[in-house]
């Protein structure tokens, strides 16, 4: 029962994690590499974060995740407080996303996502929860809604939207108002399509040439940069020098990588700085990877992530209780969304968002929160049902 044995560890997953961390340091080094004398120290910091993450991972593997169910409200409350604290600090680049601490800045939204997964799982997995009751449904909506709104107002639309598929899957699994959720999903899809079409055919702001079909009035409630990103996504040649620049450059970088890539530290697109240096090691790390290692390397990375996601799903299926199952499912979906959206935007099939690539992108909060999440998965798998 309580046998924490090395034999029961998911070694495939742990190995994948370690490989990814090692490669992360290597490619952050490469992303910041300009010349022999001018290498950023971010790769060292990333190794430090990874070390911190691994400690958390180790602790969580030994820790019985079931106790988290009892602590879930504390965790949730703590996350909400952190998300509120964000607003006390000055804006950076027009957003309240970070809490500056000595040595590094904390991004509470990363921990917030995890807290929502834990709280929602704990709430729904509680014995005697009547899933058909509307009260349950509204409670779920409230649990997700509060951090959602807080993150939305930071503003960080993409991270807040990430909560939707996670909670949707957990609630679908438990059968909370399944019909309503499915109908809602269809409605959202329809709405998104309409939104895209509207933006595509809306009248451009003054000074830009209007297309033949651009007749709709300007879409309210959205910032110009958000519309710009969607326009870039919808057409290949929108505003190449401005909003379309990153997409174009990212595609050029990936495309020029070819089958075998240009070799480590030889990604000229990256080294020349056509990929803006600020985003190359963070949101666009996959671009560097694809340019330097080509399709072979990119496919290898996709395979590693598939192994990771498979591990989460396996832990979910084989979990000994509902709480573990829900939590690992949520974590799996969270990781998937990050991986998919990030890689898809790098190769130009989704609009550009600020979602980092788990375990690869430079960033302390995200690295640690990802490692915590994976530690929880390992903890669940460790205590799986015996067959």
């Amino acid at each position: 029962m309580n046998g924490i044995t090395l034999k029961r560890l998911d070694w495939a997953m742990l190995g994948t994690i370690l490989v990814l961390i090692g490669l992360s340091a290597a490619f952050i080094y490469s992303a910041q590499f300009k010349s022999e004398v001018d290498v950023g120290s971010n790769y060292l910091k990333q190794i430090g974060f990874a070390g911190l993450g691994l400690c958390a991972y180790g602790v969580l593997v030994w820790f019985d995740y079931k106790q988290l169910a009892a602590l879930s409200w504390w965790i949730y409350g703590g996350a909400v407080v952190l998300l509120l604290l964000v607003f006390l600090f000055p804006e950076v680049n027009g957003a309240h996303r970070w809490i500056p601490l000595p040595k590094f800045t904390l991004q509470p939204s990363e921990l917030g996502k995890l807290a929502v997964v834990i709280a929602l799982s704990a709430y729904l997995a509680a014995p005697g929860r009547d899933v058909d009751d509307w009260k349950t449904f509204f409670s779920c909506v409230a649990i997700v809604g509060l951090p959602f709104l807080l993150i939305l107002f930071e503003p960080d639309l993409s991270t807040s939207l990430m909560l939707a598929p996670i909670s949707l899957a957990i609630m679908l699994y438990k059968g909370v108002q399944r019909k309503l959720l499915l109908i809602g999903m269809v409605a959202v899809l329809v709405f998104a399509t309409v939104l895209c079409l509207w933006i595509k055919y809306e009248k451009p702001p003054d000074g830009e040439t209007a297309g033949t079909w651009s007749v709709l009035p300007s879409m309210p409630l959205m910032e110009d940069y958000q519309k710009g990103r969607i326009k870039v996504f919808l057409s290949d040649d929108h505003d190449m020098a401005g909003a379309g620049w990153n997409k174009l450059q990212s595609q050029i970088a990936v495309g020029s990588g070819g089958l075998h890539g240009k070799g480590w530290l030889k990604g000229t697109q990256n080294i020349l700085g056509f990929l803006p240096r600020t985003v190359a090691p963070t949101d666009f790390i996959f671009c560097v990877i694809a340019e330097e290692t080509g399709f072979m390397g990119g496919a290898f990375f996709i395979a590693l992530y598939t192994v990771l996601l498979g591990g989460c799903m396996r832990a979910s299926v084989r979990s000994r209780d509902e709480f573990g199952r829900l939590m690992t499912l949520g974590i799996g979906i969270m990781l998937f969304c990050h991986v998919f959206v990030n890689i898809a935007m790098t190769i130009g099939i989704l609009p550009i968002t600020g979602l980092p690539l788990p375990l690869m992108s430079y960033g302390g909060s995200f690295m640690v929160s990802t490692m915590i999440a994976l530690g929880l998965v390992q903890s669940v798998y460790q205590r799986r049902r015996n067959r």
Binding site: A169, L172, Y173, K174, G175, P205, D206, G207, Q251, I252, A253, V254, G255, S256, G257, G258, L259, T268, Q269, L272, G273, F274, P276, R277, A290, G294, F295, G298, A299, I302, Y305, T306, L309, G310, M313, S316, V317, R325, L329, G332, I333, F336, V339, F340, I343, A344, I347, G348, I349
Partner: protein
Amino acid sequence: MRVRRQKQESLLVIWVVSALMLLGMGVLLSELWKLQVPRKSGFDEVFHNQSVRRVRLPAVRGKIYDTHGKCLADSVPNYCIAIYTEELRAPRSAVANTLELLHEVWARVGRKPDVSFRDIQQHLLLTPDVPLVAWEDLDDKTMARWRSRFEEWTAPPKGSRRRREIPGLDLGKPVQGRSIVLKTGELRKRGTTTAANTLELVYEISERIGSPRAVTFQNIKDHIFARRPLPLLAWKNIDDRMMARWADSCTGLAGTDIFCMSARHYPEGENLAHLIGFTLAAEATREEAGERVDFDLRGIEGVKGLEVKYNELLEGKPGSRLVQIDVSGFHYRDLQIQPPQPGGDLQLTIDANIQRFAKEALMLRQDGEARDVPVRGAVVVLDPNNGDVLAMVSAPSVDPNAYMNSKRYRQLLLKDPHKRAYHRAVFGQYPPGSTFKPITALGVLKEYPDYGKTIHDCVNPYYVDKRRKRCWIHRRGGAHGELDLRQALMHSCNVYMFEMVQEVGYEPIHDMAQQFGLGQYAGLFPDLEMPEQKDKKYGNLPASAYNTTDACNMVIGQGAITASPLQMAMVAATIANGGTLYRPRLIQKWRTAPDREYQRNPTWAIRRIDVPEAALELVRDGMHDVVMDPQGTAKKTRVPGIEIAGKTGSAQYTKDKTPAGDVIYGTHTWMISYAPCDFPRYAVAMLVEDGVSGGNTVGPRLSALYQKIFEYDGTLQKEEG
């Protein structure tokens, strides 16, 4: 029951989610393949184009030498203080921000700020948080202008209601009292732009070398906008003192260095300006086939004379540097450098010494000449035995070195009343006057070999078709009396020529002039002689005369006949060498690069003049008498110890008209000549505009020229002392 059912279904959800994940990863994989493998080459090209720029590197311009190898046009280094803006990208200082703001405001106020660079530095060092008063005591007009320009500056951007904040300025109070105040505290916290950093460095260097700034803030911004990978040349043509100061005080500064460009220097200065021409900074890039040049480090190119005629040979082949640039457009690294190939050299037939003598001789003032205008005229010295141009002077001249270095000089030149830039020796078109008479004589002698003995009587007054025609001596109340042809040449008697042309007609004279190349292209250098009038004749030689009076005018070189000094020098050379008309040769040899062999430019006879030997002999004797006979018109040309032959000429032309309508005549004074008589080595044509007479105006000058030339070549011993 219900619990079991739910459990199975919920596992289904997990399986569905897993399947969706797998599908997602599959989509990523296939999209990645599509982007990376089939479309790769397209991206490669895009990638290459966007990161590589070609910089054109000018070659060192070839040199021009005189016949003895003395350098006439030299390539010298032009030292510049360059600023490498790419090294100034990092945020630097509040001083830069303050200077940038100061210049922005300056452009709008239109008045020099009341603080110096040192003031700003000191202020930021000691009391950075106290606002800096940059302008004081503005008058009402300036304040009003500043207010309105400030209003424009801070106008809200499109789609916004809020006015634009200018960091360091107060939106509400652009003017405080009568001062403009910069809030330096606010500027201290901000990052600096490259332009601002460059500006600060320019100020700093200016302060250290003690020389005013030579570039404006707008220049800097333009440079960073358009030519970022190239160095910004902040001071050009710096002299040794500035260079020493720079080396003393500025070598520690980052981002600045000495940059060497190629410049032209003409050691002979004014002497050869018309012939060699000069260079200027090359205008916009000329298209080079197949190669895209993104940045042109501008070289120099010829704009006049030989420099432009042989520009291609002299300028060499420009090299190029392939530069990879980074996202901000700065130089990242050199991919490939193709060094420029230095230009080829020219060696001229010009002898710099003779050229200088000719110039000096032409400038000698004679009695009775107006002192308030410069001597205007031309000299051409040819070697009659092969047509080599030994000297070619046009006066007044231009200083090519000043021309290249001073825009003011160039502008003054455009308004010059004496047409300094005009190459009189080659392009000047003057009536040849009596210097035409040897041609007249030869024309007649060819048809009537015995005409030399014919005697005509020069009487005063003399009438042709009831119109009075004058010999020059008539003006002095005399007449030449009875003369033969040789004497007529010596005395330059017009009446003899009038009688002659009435007997034989204009036809033979025209034919002879044509043989001598009048009215034709002289062939000094192809296409250069009359650049703006390609199909126009070179000089003028009418094919027929309207009437007898017209014919009389033309045989004494008046009327419609015109010729350039070069053409008249060719006439003198042809008579001197016994009848061979040589193409004037200016380029002795050339090479396409300094390490190549010289190639010779051959001498080339245009034709032999078809005229009996005896006729030539007679004309030469006549020309000998002009100088050497005590009664000759060019007695003043004599040089002791040298037999010189020549012919004077004074051609009247319509200079101006008085308000009443009377014509004011001017006189172009000429001499053509060769020496020594028995074996000629030099043939000279000299022209002075608005002189008195050929013998008096040109004669002494020619004498001085011959004196110096024969002393130079050793024929005459230089007088001691």
